[in-house]
């Protein structure tokens, strides 16, 4: 893993208490005790970094400190270690302290994007979303290619219902990674929240187009939608349902997206219903409910 990537990973770190980190923590602890990391050479340091993060995630500050000490001794003035120290600080110290730590680092080196993003993160934790957004957008103005940064910005905007701005941030993420269907789904869902139903419908359809298994053994109409494709079809169904029941939403697109013609809309609606029924039948093994409304409600729980 190269430095930029690692820095980006670190910059986006947040505690989640995942089972994965628990496993890393357990296995890493054994290695730490019998000195296994030293034997691995360069890779050992990377594993040690992972253990530090896992230990922080699991709330074992003592182990994290131990690892951090080892790493700091080895790489005294590395920006990557600085970020790691900051994350450790965030775990126990009040936000003001870690914020100050980041600010000092940024003053010394204003080109450290990872630190910058952590700072924005801390600001957001403190509830100063406006400041955080400001920092993030300033950072992205310089380091445009940071996709995760754009996603975080979109997330921050969406958390205060600024869906239009969130869509704009997401469009940058789309430009930077046009091959990633997850960003398309996110864009579509945000557009749906923003009330721009025609745009959302189009984006969901694009995702379907991207994710369905074209080269599979069966033609697309016989395949069973799963995972992201199912989520996209569900979104399509929501959109068509809304467009049909509330014709007013056809013309209320902030992005001036033209809704499909009525004929196309009804066939899309039919198609999506059929797709969702196929998926339902496959997962539950029983015949799906008759009405659209019931189907939507049940699938909502399944997808989650």
């Amino acid at each position: 893993m190269d430095l930029t990537n690692s820095l980006q990973k670190l910059a986006g770190y947040r505690p989640k208490k995942t089972p994965k980190s628990k496993e890393t923590y357990k296995k890493g602890l054994v290695l730490l005790r019998n000195g296994g990391f030293a034997k691995q050479g360069d890779e050992g340091w990377e594993s040690l970094e992972k253990l530090t993060l896992a230990a922080l995630d699991q709330g074992d500050i003592a182990v994290a400190d131990e690892c951090l000490q080892l790493i700091v001794n080895k790489f005294p003035s590395s920006p990557r270690v600085d970020v790691l120290q900051g994350i450790r600080m965030e775990a126990t110290e009040p936000s003001e302290v870690s914020l100050k730590f980041y600010e000092e680092l940024l003053e010394a080196d204003p080109t450290n994007a990872a630190i910058w993003r952590r700072k924005a993160h801390v600001l957001r934790q403190m509830g100063k979303i406006d400041k955080s957004v400001q920092e993030l957008s300033e950072m992205l103005d310089t380091f445009y290619t940071d996709v995760e940064g754009w996603l975080e910005l979109a997330d921050a905007y969406a958390s205060c219902q600024q869906y239009t701005y969130a869509l704009q941030s997401l469009s940058h993420a789309l430009l930077l990674a046009p091959q990633n269907p997850f960003y398309f789904v996110q864009f579509a869902e945000t557009a749906y929240l923003a009330g721009d139903i025609p745009l959302a419908l189009k984006m969901f359809l694009v995702t379907v187009d991207m994710t369905d298994d074209e080269d599979g053994p069966v033609p697309p109409q016989d395949s069973i939608p799963t995972g992201l494709t199912l989520r996209a079809w569900y979104g399509v169904k929501l959109c068509t349902n809304k467009l049909i029941t509330e014709p007013r939403s056809m013309s209320s697109s902030a992005s001036n997206t033209l809704a499909p013609t009525t004929a196309a809309l009804s066939s899309i609606d039919e198609l999506s219903t059929e797709r969702l029924r196929t998926a339902y039948l496959n997962m539950k093994g029983e015949s799906p409910p008759k009405t659209d409304r019931e189907l939507i409600t049940i699938l909502a729980t399944i997808i989650q």
Partner: protein, 274 residues
Amino acid sequence: MPSSAVSLYLDPQIRDWVLFPITVVMILVGVLRHYVVLLLQSSPKKQMRAAIREQRALIRAQILRTTSARSPIPPTFYQSISQHLSQAFTNGTYLKDGPPKSDAPSVPPNPLTDPSQMDGMMAGMKTQMVMMVPQMIIMGWINFFFQGFVLIKLPFPLTLGFKSMLQRGIETPDMDVRWVSSLSWYFLNFFGLNGLYRLILGSDNSADSSRDMTTPFAAAAAAPQPPQAQDFNKLFKAERDNLEFAEGLYSWVGKDIETTILHKYGRLPPDTLR
């Protein structure tokens, strides 16, 4: 030719006090050189934020342009980004030193006056010195003490053409080519020790001097050179035209997506396919 093999007898002291010392000294100097070069290498200079921003502004436009024929983003978003960028390029928002004065003549800065560029050149010169000086000293040392020494006999016969290569410094036309002189031994080591260094120091060592010798300015050229002083204002102006061009090519990937999907799932008769 048994007669010539018998006719020369090498004192084992030559092996112990000349052959081995030359080899060992050359290896050690190479290792030393590697570490000195590591010491001399200054870390690449940190760029200022404004400079990075200036350099990367072009990339933003390029990223937007690459996908414009099948753009992932809807028209309104595309146009707002595109127009924002070309506006910024016109006004020089991204320039390191702020928007340019309209009447000031634009002269590309002289690289010799820019201290950050001088550093790069100096680093190359320093590496060159570290490489040349020890080799000159070793050669002088061998020439002074061991001139005309015959050090070893190669265990295989060679043609006469190798005489100038293996018996440098000894002017005897009749001696068998298999005998190697001290100066030639030096050159053999000089060109042949790279493999050994790679074993000792790893593959990207800077101990091997023969590599630098073949291309005298290789070290200077390989050193991370600061990007050429570019007139970003001009580049930005050119990029604006490109943006306009890309806007003409623009089409959204989701433009007729419903038709595509309906076709794909067999909901439309195939003859309506465009």
